[in-house]
Symmetry: C2
Subunit: 477 residues, 2 copies
C-alpha cells in the first residue's frame, strides 16, 4: 500500500525532476496544487527524526544514569537539555526571536528535499506535533500513576496529604516573598510573583521516580501523590490570584471560588460517578469482540476526563489521573496496566525530553557576568524552595513508620510550573531579568536535585530497616 501523503511527495519531487524550463502550462497549477500537500510528508519525516533523537538521547543518558544509581527520569531530562535549545539544538522548538532553527531542519533540507521557503511552516508543524505527543505522554503517565494508586489509601492519607500540600505552598511563598523584599530589596508585586513560582510541585517527576523505585503505592508515595495533586489545584488558584493582582491591583474572589468549586466537584464527582459506572464499563468491555477493546474503551474514558479537566480550566492531567484511579478499582486493573505500559514507554520519554529541551540552562553559566546577580538570588530561592518543602515532612504526626524526609524531598521538584511563571513574568515585564533568571535556575536545580535525593532517602531507610531486622532477628535471614 502506498500512503497518500508520501505518494504526493513522490509525485511532487518527480514532477519537479521531470519539469524542464519550457514545460506546458499545467506545471504551475500542479506545483501550486501539491505545494501544501508536499509539506505533509516532510512533517512526518521531521517527526520521525525527532522521535529517533528523543529515544536515542533518553536511552543513552538514562542508561548512564541507572549505572551510577541515579533515576532514569533524570537522564531523560538531561538528555532533553543536551539535544534541546541549550546545547545541540537538535529538536525543533520556536526560540522566540528568529523563528525556528535546528539541525533536524538542516537534515531535512539536505536529505528530504525541504525547500527553504517552507522551512518555517514545516518546522512549526513538527514542533506542534512533538509538543502534542509530549502532552499525550504526560496524560498517559498520569493515567498510569492513577491506575497504580490506591484510592482507599489516598482517601485514608487525605488529611495528611492536605496538610503537606498547604504547608508546602504557604512556607516557600511566605519565606520567598518576604526574603526577596527584605534581603534583596525587590518591589512587592515582583516579589509576590517570584514567591508564587516557588509553590507548585511537579507531580510528574516525583511520581516517575517513585514508580522507578517501586515506592508509588507505599504510604509515603500515596501521601506525596495526594499532596502533589492538591498542590496542582492550589497552584492554579495562586496563579489566578497573582495574575489578577499583577494586572489590576486587586483580587477577584469570584474567580478563586470558581476554581475551588470546579476542582472539588470535578475530582470528587468523576471518582464517585466513575465508581458507580465502572461495573457497566467492565461488562461493556467484556461484551466487545474486536481487538484492543479494553485499551480503547479505557483511553476513551481517560481522554474524555482529560478534555473536561482542560475545558473547565483545570488540567488535562488531573482528568487522566482521576480516570486511572477509577479504573484501578475494577477487576481489569492488572490487564490494563500491562497494556498501558508499552504505550507509556513510547510516549512518556517524549514528555521528559521535551521539558529538558525547552529549558535554557545558559542562565546557569557563572562566567557570564549578566547571570551573576540572578545566580545569587537563585541561591536564596533554591534554599527556600528546598527548606519550604522539607518542613512538610515534619507535619506528619502520630505515625512512626512514615519516612518524613521522603515526603519533604518528594515535594521539592518544581518542573515546568516554575518555568511558566518565569515565562509569563518575562513577557509582562513584571520580573527583572535577574529575578527571571533566578526562577529558572531554581526550577532547574530543584527538578534535577530531587530525583537522586529521593532515591537515596528511600535506600537509606530500607538499609536501616534491613539492619534493624537483622539485629532483632539475626537467625531469620
Amino acid at each position: 500500500m502506498v500512503d497518500l501523503l508520501v505518494w504526493t511527495t513522490a509525485f511532487a519531487s518527480l514532477t519537479n525532476l521531470a519539469n524542464p524550463p519550457n514545460a506546458p502550462l499545467l506545471a504551475a497549477e500542479v506545483a501550486e496544487a501539491i505545494e501544501t500537500a508536499a509539506e505533509a510528508p516532510l512533517v512526518l519525516s521531521g517527526v520521525l527524526i525527532s522521535l529517533i533523537v528523543v529515544y536515542l538521547a533518553a536511552k543513552l543518558v538514562g542508561e548512564l544514569c541507572i549505572r551510577v544509581n541515579l533515576p532514569p527520569v533524570l537522564g531523560e531530562l538531561t538528555a532533553g537539555v543536551i539535544v534541546g535549545i541549550s546545547a545541540l539544538n537538535l529538536l525543533i522548538f520556536p526560540d522566540g526571536q528568529q523563528g525556528f532553527h535546528s539541525l533536524i531542519l538542516d537534515l531535512l533540507q539536505v536529505t528530504a528535499g525541504l525547500e527553504s521557503q517552507s522551512v518555517q511552516s514545516v518546522a512549526g508543524s513538527i514542533s506542534e506535533v512533538i509538543s502534542v505527543l509530549s502532552e499525550l505522554g504526560v496524560i498517559i503517565l498520569l493515567f498510569e500513576i492513577g491506575l497504580e494508586s490506591d484510592l482507599k489509601e489516598l482517601i485514608r492519607v487525605g488529611p495528611q496529604a492536605a496538610i503537606v500540600a498547604v504547608v508546602g505552598v504557604a512556607v516557600p511563598f511566605a519565606l520567598g516573598t518576604t526574603g526577596l523584599i527584605t534581603i534583596f530589596g525587590v518591589a512587592v508585586v515582583p516579589a509576590i510573583f517570584a514567591g508564587a513560582a516557588l509553590t507548585a510541585t511537579s507531580i510528574g517527576i516525583t511520581a516517575k521516580v517513585l514508580a522507578e523505585i517501586g515506592q508509588l503505592s507505599s504510604k509515603e508515595g500515596q501521601i506525596i501523590i495526594g499532596a502533589a495533586v492538591l498542590d496542582d489545584i492550589l497552584g492554579i488558584i495562586i496563579l489566578a490570584v497573582v495574575a489578577s493582582l499583577a494586572k489590576t491591583g486587586e483580587i477577584r474572589i469570584s474567580n478563586i471560588l470558581y476554581l475551588i468549586v470546579s476542582a472539588s466537584v470535578f475530582l470528587i464527582g468523576t471518582i464517585l460517578v466513575g465508581r458507580l459506572l465502572s461495573p457497566y464499563f467492565v461488562a461493556l468491555v467484556e461484551g466487545m469482540q474486536t481487538r484492543g477493546q479494553l485499551l480503547l474503551a479505557s483511553l476513551i474514558f481517560a481522554f474524555t476526563l482529560a478534555y473536561i479537566g482542560a475545558a473547565i480550566h483545570l488540567e488535562a492531567i488531573l482528568g487522566a489521573f482521576a480516570a486511572g484511579l477509577v479504573l484501578a478499582e475494577t477487576e481489569k486493573r492488572k490487564e490494563l496496566e500491562e497494556q498501558i505500559a508499552p504505550i507509556a514507554d513510547m510516549l512518556v520519554p517524549i514528555f521528559f525530553v521535551v521539558v529538558g529541551a525547552k529549558t535554557d540552562v545558559s542562565v546557569l553559566n557563572p562566567i557570564n557576568p549578566a547571570n551573576r546577580e540572578g545566580l545569587i538570588i537563585a541561591l536564596f530561592l533554591v534554599v527556600v524552595a528546598v527548606l519550604g518543602k522539607l518542613v512538610t515532612g515534619a507535619t506528619i504526626s502520630g505515625e512512626e513508620s512514615v519516612n518524613r524526609w521522603a515526603i519533604g524531598i518528594g515535594m521539592i521538584p518544581r518542573g515546568e510550573v516554575g518555568l511558566v511563571f518565569a515565562g509569563v513574568g518575562a513577557a509582562t515585564g513584571i520580573l527583572s531579568n535577574s529575578l527571571n533568571a533566578a526562577i529558572i535556575v531554581m526550577v532547574i536545580l530543584t527538578t534535577f536535585l530531587a530525583p537522586p535525593l529521593l532515591r537515596i532517602v528511600f535506600q537509606l531507610a530500607s538499609d536501616s530497616e534491613n539492619s534493624e531486622n537483622l539485629e532483632s532477628l539475626p537467625k531469620s535471614e
Copy 2:
C-alpha cells in the same frame, strides 16, 4: 505537576476574566505574549476530542461489523466515512475551498474558549497532528505486519509474488486504458492516467484483514504481502512514468532506473545488513536496564528505516516493514509482538478512520445527475479493477494447496493510492470531472468489497477442507 501549556491557558483565561476595560497598559503585552501559547492547549483539547471521536466510531461500527461477520477494519473505514467529510464532519480536515469547518471546532469554541480569529490556525494544527498520528499508525501497522511475517517464507514465495505483482499491475492497466479509449472515447493521456490508478494494491487493508482472520503467515498470506510490497514499488514507478508523460510528453528513463535501483538496494540492503547486525541488537537490548528498552530500541530501528524509506522517495511504510522483517528473525520477536500490540491498538484505528474520513462518498449518489456519467465509467473501472487482480490467482501454478481466489481477492483493494491519482488528476485538469469521480468510486468499492470477500473465500476453503477431512477421516473427530 502542572504542565506548561495548560498553565498558560489557565493564565490566559484568568487574565481575561480579571481584566476590566481600564486595565493597566501591561494587559496588551500580556495578551500578545500569551496569544500563541494559549492556542497550544486548544490544539491538545482538539486532538483529545478527535481521538475520542475516532475511537468511539471505530469501536461502535467495528463491533457491529464483527457481529454480522464482516472484518472490523471495514468498520473502521466506514466509521471514518460517517464521522468524516462525507457525513457528520466531526473530524477536522481541510475541505479545500472554505478552509476548516467541523463540529469539533464548534465544540472547542463553546467549551474550551477557542476564539473565532484563531479557529483556522488551531484547526490546521489539529488536522496536522491527527494526520501524523494516522501516519504513525500505518508505520506501526506495517512494522507489526513485518514482525508477523516470515522472511524465509517470503523469499520462498518471492518468484510467485513477483509474477502476481506484475500481472496484477499490467492487466488492469492495459484493460483499463484501452477500454477507456475504445469504449468511452477518452483521450490517450487521461486514459493512461486512469489506467495507472487501477494498478497499485493497498497492502494495509489486505494485511489487516489477513491478520484479523489469522491468515497472515499462511502461504497465501505471504504471497499477497510479498506481491503487495512489490506492487507498492511498481506503483511508485508508474506514478513517475505517468507524471512525466502527462507533463512533458516523454518518459525519463533515468528517474525510473533510479527508483528501481534505490528500491532494490534499500529493501535487500536493509534486510541483509539488518540480519548481520541483529545479534548485536539483541545483546545491546539485553544489556540495557531502563524500562521499555526492547520497545524503544526497536522503535528507533523502525523509525530510522522509515525515515530513510521516505527520504529516498520510496515510502516510510516500506522501511517499517523491512524493520519488522529483520526483528522477526531475532529471539525477541515474541516479546516485541506483545509490546507492539497495544501501541498498534491505539494508533492503527486512527489510520483507517482517517482514510475513511478523508474520502468524499457523495460521488456515489446516483440521484445527483452530475454523478451519473462518472458512475457508468466507474462500473467499468470496478469490473476491470476486480478482474485484473483476480486473474493473478491463475498465475500460481504447480501447487494444489494454494487458494488462488484468496490471492486474487487479496490484491483487489486500491485504498488511498487511487485517491492520490484522483486528487492529482483533478488538480492538474488532466482528468475530466466524471473520470475523476469514476476513479474515486472504483477506489471506494474495491476497498470496501475486498475485506468481506477475502473473509468469505478463506472461510469457504476451510469449510471444504474440514468436510474433506471429515469424509476421509470420519473417525478422527
